[in-house]
Symmetry: C3
């Protein structure tokens, strides 16, 4: 793009100050220094990542290093890590001129968020009472990635309309809220949510939607020229889609119980995702002229099955139960893109760039409900007596499956409440005119926050070409090579 060469002025917005030269470095430095200080005060290795592990093994009669939790979870962690950075990052590259920001801001806020999440989650879940230190191991870094996922979901609703400083602020608060919400759901209500239908997707979805509602831009249509994809940006987005889709079984099984828990969670998620794909394609084709498929649905709705199995994946939901959940989610999510998103934008004033309501919020709610029902119908005959105790961690609490189902349902309400109330508060903070967000006619544009390369496409050899034509011989056969040399 570049400046307008006719009027010699910047082509876009003189109306808003998008300069982040002070604020972005300041936020990055301050927060990173705070992280170092807090890690110094609070974070240490746990017994499985500490060099005293050989002593620990002896004390606990552990005969093999393969019993270290690292070998149960590290491969899954790496899959989750790919989902967070490549999956979420590339999924959002679909906009024609916002790929740098999609991948780059995703990278920035996730890298910050995982540090803050280690602290926040550590205080709530991994504090060693004997010495007051947070003890971290592989499960903590998976949970930190999970926590950040909720903020990246919220980022999806705000994509293209926020500055990197705003996103950093949003992540700071998002991670904080997540940790409290997760503590209430998992520790106080003692609900189960291995893949985070409630804690991650419902919370993250409504958190992002509420922020987007508060930050509503009535004149967003001024950026309409950039609010769409180009051919190759859609192919880039499919990289994100596929890595999310492929690794979702790892997401839902990463922190499930060792043995059958992880095993079953992976299989259930694998099946639900497969079913989502078929119904997403079906509805997408059914809704369009000549049955043509829409990339928006393929990129997003196909993933809904994984979201909806977040809670129930480790339960005995049965293989066909997983297929049914995936079946419903593919339909629900595609309908969301077709019907709900336009409705919400028009009537509810929620501009949801990536359609997170359809991909995360609704399937997350559904996943919470599926989890509650599956938990309520659990029995010793299905799980075995030891299996039932293991999976629902009934030891020490006087729970029955049906009361467990009730607490699961309460978890949904908590996630929803934190998402909406938290989103409203954070949205108000983000509306302060401090953060360098773009003007309405300037959204969805990498140019605002990135040094862009001069593209082949946007520096066409017009002037050179013209001069050449005028002067030399307008009728001469101008060879292609001249043309391409000028271009590049």
């Amino acid at each position: 793009m570049g400046n307008c060469q006719v009027c010699c002025k910047n082509f876009w917005c003189h109306s808003k100050n998008t300069n982040v030269r002070i604020s972005l470095p300041a936020v990055c430095f301050l927060w990173q220094i705070a992280m170092i200080i807090l890690f110094g005060a609070f974070v240490r290795y746990n017994e499985e990542s500490d060099a005293h592990w050989p002593d620990y093994k002896k004390e606990h009669n552990i005969t093999s290093d393969s019993e270290n939790d690292f070998y149960f979870r590290y491969a899954s962690f790496q899959d989750v890590h790919v989902m967070i950075f490549v999956g979420f990052g590339f999924l959002m590259t679909f906009l024609k001129r916002y790929s740098f920001s999609a991948v780059g801001f995703n990278f920035l806020i996730a890298a910050f968020g995982i540090q803050w999440a280690l602290l926040m989650q550590g205080w709530f879940h991994s504090l060693d009472p004997t010495d007051g230190f947070i003890k971290i191991g592989v499960e903590n870094i998976i949970n930190a990635d999970f926590c950040v996922a909720s903020c990246l979901i919220a980022f999806g609703a705000c994509l293209g309309k926020t500055s990197p400083v705003q996103l950093m602020v949003m992540t700071l608060f998002g991670v904080t809220l997540f940790a409290v919400e997760e503590y209430i759901i998992l520790e106080l209500l003692h609900a189960r949510d291995a893949g985070g239908s409630m804690t991650i997707h419902t919370f993250g979805g409504y958190f992002g939607l509420t922020i987007s509602w508060i930050l509503y831009r009535p004149n967003l249509h001024q950026s309409k020229r950039l609010h769409g994809s180009v051919y190759h940006s859609d192919v880039f987005a499919m990289i994100g889609t596929l890595f999310l889709w492929m690794f979702w079984p790892s997401f839902n099984s990463a922190i499930a119980n060792h043995g059958d828990g992880q095993h079953r969670a992976a299989i259930n998620t694998y099946l639900a995702l497969a079913a989502s794909v078929l119904t997403s394609y079906a509805i997408s084709s059914l809704s369009a002229n000549k049955g043509k498929l829409d990339m928006v649905h393929i990129q997003n709705a196909t993933l809904a099955g994984g979201v909806a199995l977040g809670t129930a994946s480790e339960f005995m939901i049965t293989p066909y139960g997983s297929l049914i959940v995936g079946f419903c989610c593919g339909i629900l999510s595609t309908f969301g893109y077709l019907v709900l998103s336009p409705f919400m934008e028009k009537h509810l004033k929620i501009q949801d760039t990536c359609g997170i309501h359809n991909l995360h919020a609704m399937p997350g709610l559904l996943g919470g409900v599926v989890g509650a029902i599956t938990a309520a119908t659990a029995s010793t005959s299905i799980y075995g007596s030891e299996g039932l105790k293991n999976i629902f961690e009934f030891v020490g609490t006087k729970r029955t499956p049906s009361t467990q189902g009730g607490y699961q349902a309460a978890g949904i309400a908590v996630a929803l409440a934190f998402g909406i109330v938290g989103g409203a508060i954070v949205g108000m903070i983000l509306r302060l005119p401090l953060w360098g967000d773009p003007a309405d006619d300037n959204c969805f544009d990498d140019e605002v926050y990135w040094e862009l390369p001069e593209d082949e496409e946007s520096i066409p050899p017009i002037l050179e070409y013209k001069n050449h034509m005028d002067i030399k011989n307008p009728d001469a056969c101008v060879s292609e090579s001249n043309f391409s040399v000028d271009q590049s």
Copy 2:
């Protein structure tokens, strides 16, 4: 692209009905519902993914969860999963305007195929005789991915010339044939084929080639404008190539025996692939003016070494034996692209879009032969007495290595026969004028089945163009194809 703005008609095919608005959703819904019903009737968790696993552990004196098969195979499963969805999907994005279909149809048919494969393979291999249920675990989902691979290979031959409905039908029959063929080779002949040189690559290759032969299009040259790559589509295809190449050691070792079997299979495949790369580059350079490399060879022939070690990877083929196999395959496959593919198109009327004959069919055959020879020359001194039994599962059968070699060779014939006969039958079915396949002048074009974004590149100076029209001859019917031919 889009409609012609001059004559207001669709540029393409009034000749063929490519509307899949009824057929595609119908097939997706019907088959997905059938899957749910059949899974409900037949599929349950196996003892390692069922919540009764703690009881099972006690009964079988298993002391650690790390003995659960999940931890032996899940990391490999995820690699295979990436090969199926990103590897095959992106490998086929090389065409300039068929990337949506390449990735998208690959996604659709693989997601359907894995469900049907779990059933078909389950009936043949994992049926629990005590209760009549198919019991699934991580090995089953790897095998389902493998089974689908054979259909994706066949898709490679038909790329650009088939509708999504046709591909769904092809996958239904392909998976069915695969399961029967695999049962005969692995269970009846008791041949070994951990990485599927015979079952996956030979079968899939000849299945696809025969279908392509039956669906021969004499006027395919009418789509010539779209039958090539552009710069960035070739880079996208390299994503597919590299993920296939990198994870092929996991493909060949995923269902090999625990311990040395998986270990050796990974090393052998790693070596064969490395050797393939060097000879592919060598022949590619040798065959071209000024030694210039051809992306088609680099994207495909470099993978041939992995295909050819599919059978022998877990055998004691030795590291240098693996290198020799890779060496030969790189040469063979590149020659195939240079010589055989043009010959087959011209004289045998086989239009093989991705050159699967060179990447899968021939190396698969070679792999079967290598496996037969390696098996025939096995001995107790090389394998140890227990090793020999483990690897060839001689327990209970009165096999010697040399008879095993004969049965391995018989396996090749079975795979070939299923591929050719099955391909002929399925090809006839796919010729029925029901499936909404594209017209000859309309192949290799995403426009037919996808809503395409209006591209920067493809909405170029329309006004200029129109003005030009106005002045010279405003009534001439300038079709978009003229325009796009000039462009491409």
Copy 3:
């Protein structure tokens, strides 16, 4: 691009012969045949990948296959493998017309290098004295990937200015030098370097920089038109960046000690990388007009934390120590891109295409220093007595932590010396006019060594445009912005 259609000659350099039609195939074939012969003479499976593993298990009272090293390291190996082929390959695709070469030459030299590395490293580290064979297992193939990484780093400095034959020669010598250097550092000095700050990054960095200095091209500005990125090439490069970033914890932990060693190495690297991201973004924003981020910094400097933890990752550097290292590296590396690279090009005559000095050489040096300090301050109270012995392998040597620190520091000097002296020698060899390297006006261009597709973008509607110009008003100032608005 293509030939100039006016003068009917090749557009570029008649001055240099870039024909590699004989030399490239000759090198590939000769070296691959040499590999087969040498593998035949020297390489066999080790006890864990050999079919005698069941006997070995019995002899050593190993009760479970899960004790096979394959299950401790294979998942990490696959991550490292992705870093080598996709990570390094795609990181270098940022140039607008050198993506084929970046990915393709990376693929070629890595595939050759891993074979030669298995031999060279095998002779030094894995030679079985009883029978004179190199015995390979999963750790060897990880180490081979590591070794090749040092050559790929060197490739980064030479990117765009070398022929594939030169790169093959560079890799042959680079791997050889690496194996000797690594032997001195790890076996003779008995220094620890699990993630290779010294052996891989310092050596590879200075090796490449010295070669680049010897191959200095005073007229490289003649290729300036190609020495930059385009929008989508930068997005491709982010694929490389992210896979490197995500899997770096696996790189630094892949060959660390089983149990706590691998566990801690992964966590430390995870934290250092996260901190690098924040400070890279901060400095990038701080240094530019309006705080705009520069993709070069984001693609590269964010990775510096992983490089700098290569030595110390398995030590008890503490979580906040890792954050501090990452914090400093992000700043250092980004400053390198801003200040040092231009300085080196102008005053030291080092043309470092990818800025490996900033990403590998400097952070590698820093990593060596951090490792030496951390080792020198080790104590039994921090590590436990057994932990201390395990990690520094003090058994049999009369080392104290402080002397260990000294030997670590000596390791840095060895890596540096091998890089510089080795680079000088190899650089002189590469200057011989045999290798078909491109002319100065022809660098950074895939056209030289690849058959390129005819791009949509490069055959635009020239004739239409010309006619339009002729007729309406050839002198009108057609601004670029008008043009690009029409396009988008």
